[in-house]
């Protein structure tokens, strides 16, 4: 009988595992509908989710992804179970072309009347046929007020030799080449090889003054004063500003990148009605205002703007001046033409 303990151990493990397997397959009793949201981390105010749950007698389960591409790869391979997803606009366009998201039922979305028409005029899905803009950010320039003399809101700042080695640009070909295209007065969705070549030369010129191309550490770098001027996302900069009051943010007068994460409903969604209700809820002006205060990104909801605090409304990183906003563009999915950018970017990376 010496092997009894071993047997018992094995049995225990099997029972425990069976428990998990059963729980996994059974999926719980059917008393409350569950809405599955697949989104970025910390991308909705938790109290608002609780309110939605109470109002709709449902449960909201939020899962997170860390990049559009990873999320796309996973869903493309066949993963299902998510109802509402929040990809960035260019990815929404791609998912739409691959038939991975479903058309919206406008009858269930009365609050879409509040969505800012000014933003919609530059959006990729202008009619909100399959996506609703959720949160808007822009890419611009942050700098230390006390260290950068004669700051001008222009992409030409990266030509300033006196800041050599203390500036950083994003390690993102569309963002950085886009900045150069804007400086030259072209569209940042340009697919004209000649314009791209010109822009590539500008970035190669800038590269001599840059410490590096980088997407994450620039926040720490400008907070601690290691870098004096960085190209970065407004949402990131606002977080850093809370810690170092010397940091200012400016949108270049030539314009820059607007980027928007959209609410979409997956083709395979089970709770389609509830998913519409959730999107409608987030576009309620009061909810949108509260959410913007929490995330510090702008929900493009025109009737929510007056409800936001002074601090947000007077923040030029969140509310852009109209003449600059008019020059900003949303990054479009270029499909095959993307290769043109890859080629220029490779040349930039290889340049000394």
């Amino acid at each position: 009988m010496t092997h009894h303990p071993v047997l018992r151990f094995a049995l225990g493990a099997v029972v425990a595992a069976a428990g998990i397997l059963a729980a996994g397959c059974g999926g719980g009793a059917k008393e409350q509908p569950i809405l599955h949201v697949y989104t970025w981390s910390d991308y909705v105010k938790p109290e608002l989710v609780a309110r939605f749950e109470a109002e709709n007698a449902c449960k909201v389960v939020i899962d997170t992804f860390d990049s559009n591409e990873a999320m796309y790869a996973k869903l493309k391979a066949g993963a299902t179970g998510y109802d509402v997803i929040t990809p960035t606009s260019y990815m929404v366009a791609l998912m739409h072309s691959q038939d991975m998201i479903q058309p919206l039922d406008r009858a269930l979305l009365p609050n879409l009347a509040h969505v800012d028409p000014e933003y919609l005029s530059v959006a990729l899905d202008k009619d909100m046929a399959y996506s609703v803009p959720y949160m808007l950010t822009n890419t611009g320039i942050a700098y230390l007020k006390s260290k950068v003399a004669d700051f001008e809101p222009t992409w030409a700042m990266f030509d300033r030799a006196d800041l050599k080695g203390r500036m950083v640009m994003l390690n993102d070909m569309r963002e950085t080449i886009g900045g150069a295209l804007k400086l030259l007065g072209y569209s940042l969705n340009s697919t004209d090889p000649k314009q791209l070549e010109e822009a590539g030369k500008v970035v190669i010129r800038w590269k001599k003054n840059l410490a590096k191309f980088e997407n994450e550490q620039y926040k720490t770098g400008i907070a601690s004063g290691e870098f004096l001027l960085v190209h970065g996302y407004s949402g990131d900069i606002l977080q850093v500003q809370a810690e170092n009051k010397d940091i200012a943010f400016a949108m270049p007068r030539e314009g820059g990148v607007l980027s928007c994460d959209d609410l979409v409903i997956a083709k395979s969604a089970k709770e389609v009605k509830l998913a519409h209700a959730y999107i409608n809820f987030l576009q309620d002006p009061k909810v949108a205002a509260e959410n913007t205060e929490f995330i510090q990104y702008l929900c493009p909801n025109k009737d929510a703007y007056p409800l936001m605090s002074e601090a947000i409304r007077n923040n030029s990183a969140i509310f852009l001046a109209p003449e600059i906003k008019a020059k900003c563009e949303v990054l479009a999915d270029l499909g095959e033409k993307n290769a043109l950018y890859v080629k220029v970017w490779d040349e930039i990376k290889a340049a000394k």
Binding site: G12, V61, G81
Partner: protein, 251 residues
Amino acid sequence: MKRSRFPFVVTGVVLVFFYLPILILVADSFNASRFGGAWRGFSFRWYARLFHEPDIWISARNTLVIAVVVTFLSLILGTTSALALHRFAKSRLQGIHYTLIYTPLVVPEILMGISLLMAFVAAGIKLGMTTIVLAHVTFCISYVALVVLGRLRDLGATGWQATRRVLLPMLAPGLAAAGLIAFTLSVDDFVITFFVAGPGATTLPIRVYSMIKHGATPLINALSTLLLALTFTMVLVSQRLSKSGALEGGQ
């Protein structure tokens, strides 16, 4: 003749290389600054905030439940596989078996993640905790089998009687080591888990990765420090256990 200092210096440098980043992480978890670039005073604020983040705790719970189940399952399957490999070392079939056990160690994670996801989708298995457990067991078996196999070769025992009476008790430290490896691999796997995770089954590594974009990284530092404390305690306990086990075995 004086002993060379060289090995001592090399050991020191290697240890610093291993542990300095961890020490920085622990120090930063007490840094009042959100970005950790500069020291802005000692603070428990991130720990305090950590206790008000239900999402993180749900992910932590998912991770631990998965890791415990994975450890149990892969210990059983991996050990039996090692026993077979050892007992019938000369057979052709076991040669194939060995290759199959060895393969997951060299297959790129991203390939394994996507192919497992496609297999689950094709088989109509609902994605969730179950699929994560199955995926983790798939690669943990290999590690367990190889660790236990190594121990078996050291012992050199054969036969079922020997297995039962001598081998299993003698094998205990190897099993403990293999179990710890399986547990750790399961806790920190990101790539495969990301693909096979279903709705409601977000684990800690997935949450931590996604927090880099929007969330507060110091929260991750605080959480990692707590996990480190837990891991170190576990390693200490298991060392104590295997030491006393070895003593008993020796008597």
